[in-house]
Symmetry: C2
Subunit: 198 residues, 2 copies
DNA sequence: GGTTTGACCGGATGCTACCTCCGTTTTACG
DNA sequence: CGTAAAACGGAGGTAGCATCCGGTCAAACC
């Protein structure tokens, strides 16, 4: 133990500096060019060699997961607001929108996300966030079902899939916002109880 | 005009041979490795140089469209059967399944398909099949709406998007058939008229 | 059947991106 | 300030894409 209470040697300053620069640059490139952006370009613009990038983030997914960390925290914050709502059907709906926004953060994000959702890949750094989201969705679904607002046949995972799909469609950029709205409405009338008048 | 009634010179035998070999090999590779498979590998296995492949099919999409031609014909055949059905709601449902199967022919197919669906790209060889499918879907939707079996708010394009989405999910391989079934059912109760007892 | 012609072939080529390895540099600590 | 551990970063091997061009081969004409 050293003075800062950490095990072993104090972490080097350049490590943190490079990591922060990489994350900042990567986020910008993911935003502009999607998740398939060139990692070499990210490294160069962050002012480090490719080796440094790969040491910090061994795979594209690892970098992606680290960049998504910020968005995850936003999502958790939004979750707190949603939990305040009295209406469980409204809460579910807002939660689905929140997830959809999260999935739409970068174009092409749904693909690695679905690859990670396929379980038995504990080494994939995106698996944990995915599982968390599925579990949370299930919570909202069950609450709404208890209130008789959502069909009993629906599972949280189904609506997780629905949200990812909508995000995927948005990410392809082939569709106007109107069509996406209609698709969301179609899904909503699919999971809601038929006699729900809300 | 020559003896065979064609303009100019008779097409060379090796052209047809190479084209057929490329199509056959490409289909096998698309099946095994998805639409992102290496075109160089396809050319090598077909016994031609990369130049020959690119002369026959200038882009990956062109090759894909040519390989899909066979499947398109199957789809048209299936359409004939569907048109025999008396029940327009049943016809729509079967048509959606037929489209979904078509989209699921190769893993990763939905992405280039959606890219082509984005209009104003008349040079994309996948645009034509896409537009045809959307138009056909609209036909089935309108027939079912006329019979009061499908909500008025639904558009053919919406269900086209739904079918592509389901195919995309299947293609990621991250989901078991049961979940896909539930998602399909969810979508169905979303577009059907609420009081439809069928 | 021989010659001509031009369409077609296919490999060599330049490019971009991925990912790894290892000699060099930086950093923390005593 | 000296030292050793840790991190850096660029060189380099691999793979795939897409193009170009000299050589070839099949079809057409005599």
């Amino acid at each position: 133990m050293n003075a800062s209470g950490q095990r072993g040697r104090k972490p080097r300053a350049d490590v943190q500096r490079n990591r922060a620069a990489l994350l900042e640059t990567a986020q910008r490139h993911f935003l502009q060019h999607g998740v398939g952006t060139s990692l070499e370009a990210v490294a160069k613009e962050a002012g480090v060699g490719p080796g440094t990038l790969y040491r910090h983030f061994p795979t594209r997914e690892a970098l992606l997961a680290a960049v998504l960390q910020t968005r995850s925290e936003e999502l958790v914050a939004r979750q707190a607001d949603i939990d305040q709502l009295g209406d469980p059907a409204e809460a579910l709906e807002q939660w689905l929108r929140a997830m959809e926004d999260y999935f739409s953060a970068f174009s092409g994000l749904p693909d690695p996300l679905m690859a990670a959702a396929r379980a038995q890949e504990p080494d994939n750094p995106l698996t944990l966030p995915c599982d968390t989201l599925i579990t949370a969705t299930d919570k909202y679904v069950q609450a709404a079902q208890l209130a008789g607002r959502v069909r009993e046949s629906v599972k949280g995972y189904d609506l997780f899939l629905a949200a990812v799909s909508v995000a995927w469609i948005k990410g392809t950029g082939a569709t106007d916002e109107e069509s996406v709205d209609r698709l969301r409405a179609l899904l909503a009338s699919g999971y809601r109880e038929p006699d729900d008048q809300a």
